[in-house]
């Protein structure tokens, strides 16, 4: 193992990425290979896997056992839920949302992709782009994951032919482009043989790009903050009321987008009151400027009424507030979402009552066709909804801000998380598909 020095470790950034799972595409093998070849599996874990594999009569260690953590998963040989894995190289730290490829794949992939900067979509080189691939691309596009990797796996089974890879990469890139996926990196690999996963392949000298791991290590994680709308959802009001800090009144929160500076005029939503930032504390230290995703405490020049749930924004760049939210949603609960359903909506730090006014359409991911007025959405369905909220919410378009353009719906009776929502247009550029119900003009 190459030992990582302390200096190298402290200089690294964090990449959160997700794998799009489907059965038999070799995802477990890829994850296992990545962890194994990057020396991220420690010997006691590997020994445990070897022991269990041997006791089952398997000849080689089953690397899927590394990722199936629950008793039921091991007993049934299936993956139930998203698991999070951690590994590091000298260049970067990684959090991998490992999403299973079984029936609940849509909600699991949505869950994994919601926090991911990058999504890996695997295809079997023998089969090329299939329905499942298009589905994964559509979810990555809906969730607006900034980077998409197409890993063309099992290249060993197509004699490592460049033409096979090139055709798949071209077809996928064209499809993803239609969905508005901003960036696709296609990499030919064999997870089983280890080609181009961590080490460059000797079998594909025609490929000049990075290995899978090298790409993960170098893909940019910071964004152009100059064009982001600055947003600070207020989580908690800090008032020490001590002799040392008798008048301290700070508004604590994690910056959801953009940058804030001392001296900047700000507006508090939904009230619309205005003030100026008189100070920013970054976890106890005063700073002049703070940016996404720092957790800060903001002090204002004026004593105005602000509480948890409010949103602090630059006065020159305030979103409109609305009680009518239109969004694309993925339904994640077993009980259906119906028109007339009374729910809670959690947006940023604010939770308010809401009612589902309409479900204009349901999206079929396979061909991106629309089913008009389905009446309800069941688990794993993706559709458009119109929601009326009890109080005005300062929502952004999800295209502009993944944090302030997203929300969850909660069942007020038992607290179940029902639905993941993304405000505004579904895909970055509308796909020319036939809309069976023209009445609402939705643009899937």
């Amino acid at each position: 193992m190459s030992t990582i020095t302390a200096e190298e470790l402290s200089a690294t950034t964090l990449l959160r990425f997700a794998t799009a799972g489907s059965v038999d595409d070799g995802k477990s093998t890829l994850v296992g290979r990545l962890l194994h070849d990057s020396k991220s599996i420690l010997s006691d874990q590997l020994e445990a896997v070897e022991r269990v594999s041997a006791s089952r009569g398997q000849e080689a260690p089953d690397l899927a056992l590394l990722t199936d953590g629950l008793r039921a998963e091991r007993e049934q040989g299936i993956t139930i839920d998203v698991a999070y894995r951690y590994f590091a190289t000298p260049r970067r730290r990684f959090i991998l949302a490992d999403t299973p490829g079984h029936v609940q794949y849509t909600r699991n992939m949505v869950t994994g992709a919601s926090t991911a900067e990058l999504t890996v979509i695997l295809v079997d080189a023998r089969n090329g782009v299939v329905e499942q691939t298009r589905r994964h691309a559509a979810i990555a596009a809906l969730l607006r994951v900034p980077h998409v990797v197409l890993a063309v796996n099992k290249m060993d089974l197509v004699e490592y032919r460049e033409t096979v890879f090139a055709a798949i990469a071209e077809e996928f890139t064209a499809y993803a482009g239609e969905l508005g996926v901003p960036e696709v990196t296609a990499i030919p690999i064999s997870a089983l043989a280890g080609d181009n996963v961590v080490d460059p392949s000797a079998n594909m000298d025609w490929y000049g790009g990075p290995t899978f791991l090298e790409h993960l290590e170098t893909v940019p994680v910071s964004h152009d903050l100059a064009h982001c709308h600055a947003r600070l959802p207020v989580q908690y009001v800090i008032r020490p009321q001590t002799a040392e800090h008798p008048d301290y009144r700070g508004y604590a929160g994690q910056i959801a987008a953009g940058t804030f500076r001392v001296g900047e005029p700000v507006t508090v939503l939904p009230s619309g009151r205005t003030s100026t930032i008189s100070g920013i504390d970054l976890l106890g230290e005063p700073v002049d400027v703070a940016w996404t995703t720092q957790s800060v405490t903001v002090l204002l020049a004026d004593d105005i009424d602000i509480s948890r749930g409010d949103l602090i924004v630059p006065t020159k760049d305030a979103p409109a507030t609305t009680q009518d939210v239109e969004a694309t949603v993925c339904h994640v609960a077993d009980q259906p979402l119906t028109v007339g359903h009374r729910v809670l909506i959690k947006h940023g730090t604010r939770t308010v009552k809401a009612i589902v006014r309409d479900i204009p359409s349901r999206l079929t991911l396979d061909d991106l066709s629309l089913h008009p007025h389905p009446g309800q959405l069941v688990a794993n369905d993706i559709g458009r909804v119109k929601i009326r909220t009890a109080q005005p919410l300062p929502v952004d378009s999800y295209a502009d801000s993944r944090r302030t353009g997203s929300f969850i719906l909660i069942d007020p009776a038992d607290g179940t998380t029902l639905t993941a929502g993304m405000v505004g247009e579904s895909f970055a550029s509308p796909v020319p598909v036939k809309d069976e119900s023209d009445d609402d003009g939705w643009d899937f």
Partner: protein, 312 residues
Amino acid sequence: MTTTVAEAEEGTASPYALSHLDSLESEAVHIFREVAGEFENPVILFSGGKDSIVMLHLALKAFAPAAIPFTLLHVDTGHNFPEVLEYRDRVVAAHGLRLHVASVQDYIDRGVLKERPDGTRNPLQTLPLTEKIQSEKFDAVFGGGRRDEEKARAKERVFSLRDEFSQWDPRRQRPELWNLYNGRHAPGEHVRVFPLSNWTELDVWQYIAREGIELPEIYFAHEREVFRRGGMWLTAGEWGGAKDGETVEKRLVRYRTVGDMSCTGAVDSDAVTLDDVITEIAASRLTERGATRADDKMSEAAMEDRKREGYF
């Protein structure tokens, strides 16, 4: 104020990209503040171990310059390292915090719990913990659990709902989307909250080094009388000691985890500074729990089974 963001972003690395430690710190602080904003009566599980010490440090930063709006709870097995108890009491006093103690020894003395033949009290902690949660009506319970520790923990949510029996049902977990944590719960239920979910052991040590956080001495190499049992170096104490055939010897050791003395093993080490420890951890080929915890070796699903019953 003259530098624009675009200008500042030029150069080799963007100054707006948070380091991984800043990113993890910010996320943990966000989690603490969400709980403070949404729950009535939260408590931090505090053992005096490095993870709970880091949790406390993060909570102090999250609410500075105000005090932490939470109390602490220690589940005292009765077999704790004296150095750790001393540290615990000192920290609690220094920050003017309130400490609840749930005592396994009390339960044994009252005859509610029975000492196990193997002497370990780790599994016995679940009942005092869950009864304390019920009697004090804690609705959010912070734990220092990390997903990198164990494969059942890799499946754990940041906000993990427990029923009125404190049970965890991995099949009925709420999906966690973006950073929109759902803390809704019925009376009698509570939510276990894990702000260090995304931290690894190495992150914890790097953060301790960066922040200059003081730790109990047993985390650093020291000479100690130990004996070998179940592949681990154990220290004799009130809980018991070497049996026939087990010989006590003096070794240079340190602890990677802190727990019940009867089942927490020391590792051979000459790491006396934080930098030494970080170098040692980065090069280690054993996981933290694999190296030092006897209770997780009992079965393939030991952790999952204990968690289902209400263990942290």
